[in-house]
Symmetry: C2
Subunit: 324 residues, 2 copies
């Protein structure tokens, strides 16, 4: 069993299938040395996952790795960026080869799928946690930001919402379902969301603002509203719910509330000016992603929810790691 | 007291004096969006510091911040890169405003000194730790790597070695000195090393290989030897020791051993072909850094130590977080 930091790094992280031409120097020196294409800007995002806060210590390391990288790639997707590189800082109490092997399996499978090269990082001793920094390219001036939305723009989300929260409730034993296959599907959706990379790229020049849903739709949409200086109306009966979520939560109102607050979905929420609405469907059809219009921006501040044409006053909270 | 993750980030990290023109979009969106100068390559390094492993939980947060950023900037220095941006992932058990205020003071003071802009990161709940990813620029093809050293090249180190280990021994109570001012100086050197940014830049085109001393000279030099396929002779009586280290450890042999193994020094170790030796002094004089030749590369593998002309067989170990 390897007990030396450098042996561990060499053994598990120095070998990978991805070998990008824009990586002049990768793992093994003081820094990675990288080439950014002329005409592109660099998009950079950092996310930490801490055992006990973001995942259970006993969680399958394959899934933890997928979730960690997917959540970070999702931030690139939200900018319309093309992923290129990732740095990994891994802290663990002691060298655990079985855990590392599983982690690498999940990590490199997703990294290879998106042609992302691991360019470096750090391995340290301490309570289990990991921090990833992903980097990607976006054509000069074309990044999808949070501040371009205008009153009248339509609000869209990709995929379906709520499954991640349902899977987490099952994981935590807060709720149970009789159907084991249903439970497994929802838990899998909690861990194994796919970042909407191609959808984000397809929305460049079409969406006026975009972000990924990591803290719940109402919480995340709030960031667009604040940065863009607008209000929103959401029609909750239009929220896209999966068949599995409807089976998990047959009460339609409660299911909608799950969809509004479910964090770690890694679907995109984006806004589209009226003139671009026709382009959305075409652009996303090419990447096999369905988007649903769930509301519209208005002058003012805040979010108003409508259910079947009636304003509703649901008390909802987004996910906040530090909230009581 | 702010208890919301977003409030904390906004309050402590959204305001800084550095405002670089190459940062198109900084904190507050899914990604930072950045411009890399044409003709430059990007140098990227990631380092984690974990409470209990890399610093004591009760350590002054001003010093922890300095150490975290300095150690990461030191990796850029070792490549000859010019620092530009930093991402910060901060994990803490609960929002601690006094700690955050101290941390920001130390962090931004050093960031401003090197014109480094904080471009984003993550704030999460969990055991105290921080991970930084720094990025900088280096002219195309000019990065100082670990693999260009050749037999016959001379081995240099900047500054003095050993003070960091002495400061740590005092901090941990493994040793004491009567002179309180001496103790304070050595502890300060443990926490507050200055990354050799200008020296690294000055050595581009002069040094054949370089790295920064984070795990101890013998351990770090080993990386150059392995990557470059050479052996080294070090003349331990030529190691640059501070006056304070000599007072801390009057035994010359023990002082040399401290200098050989002291980690977290953040001095540069570099190799220079005979033809460039004259250029070293001139280049470094411009940035006020002294470098000392401590040995030479030879064909073969491994490091041989000489003390006053005699080979010595000291058993030394570099710092390894995972070693028993």
């Amino acid at each position: 069993m390897a007990t030396n930091e450098f042996d561990l790094i060499a053994r598990y992280f120095a070998h990978q299938a991805v070998n990008r031409k824009d990586v002049a120097l990768a793992i093994g020196d003081d820094c990675a040395v990288l080439d950014v294409p002329v005409g592109s800007q660099l998009a950079v995002s950092t996310d930490s996952l801490v055992a006990g806060t973001h995942f259970l210590s006993e969680a399958d390391p394959v899934r933890v790795a997928h979730k960690a990288l997917a959540s970070n790639l999702s931030d690139l997707a939200a900018m319309g960026a093309t992923p290129a590189w990732v740095s990994l800082a891994l802290t663990m109490p002691e060298p655990d080869e079985a855990w590392l092997a599983g982690f690498c399996q999940g990590f490199f499978a997703l990294a290879e799928y998106y042609n992302v090269q691991l360019i470096g990082g750090d391995t340290t001793k301490g309570p289990l946690s990991l921090t990833l920094t992903v980097q990607g390219f976006v054509p000069q001036g074309k990044a999808l930001t949070r501040c371009g939305a205008q009153s009248g723009d339509w609000i869209y989300v990709t995929g379906t919402l709520g499954d991640s929260a349902a899977g987490l409730a099952l994981l935590l034993g807060q709720k149970s379902v009789d159907d084991a296959a249903l439970a497994e599907t929802l838990i899998d959706r909690h861990y194994c969301a796919q970042p909407r990379i191609l959808a984000g790229q397809a929305l460049r020049g079409i969406a006026s603002a975009a972000l990924d849903i990591s803290d719940g739709l109402v919480s995340d949409l709030g960031h667009i509203l604040k940065r863009s200086g607008v209000a929103a109306v959401i029609e909750v009966d239009k929220l896209p719910l999966s068949e599995e979520l409807r089976r998990f939560e047959p009460d339609a109102e409660k299911a909608s509330q799950l969809a509004l607050t479910s964090g770690e979905e890694y679907e995109l929420c984006f806004t589209v000016p009226e003139v671009n609405r026709g382009a959305v469907e075409t652009a996303l059809a090419h990447c096999g992603v369905k988007a649903t219009c769930v509301g519209q921006l208005r002058p003012g501040t805040g979010i108003t929810l409508f259910n079947a044409g009636e304003a509703v006053d649901w008390q909802l909270q987004g996910y906040d790691h530090f909230a009581e």
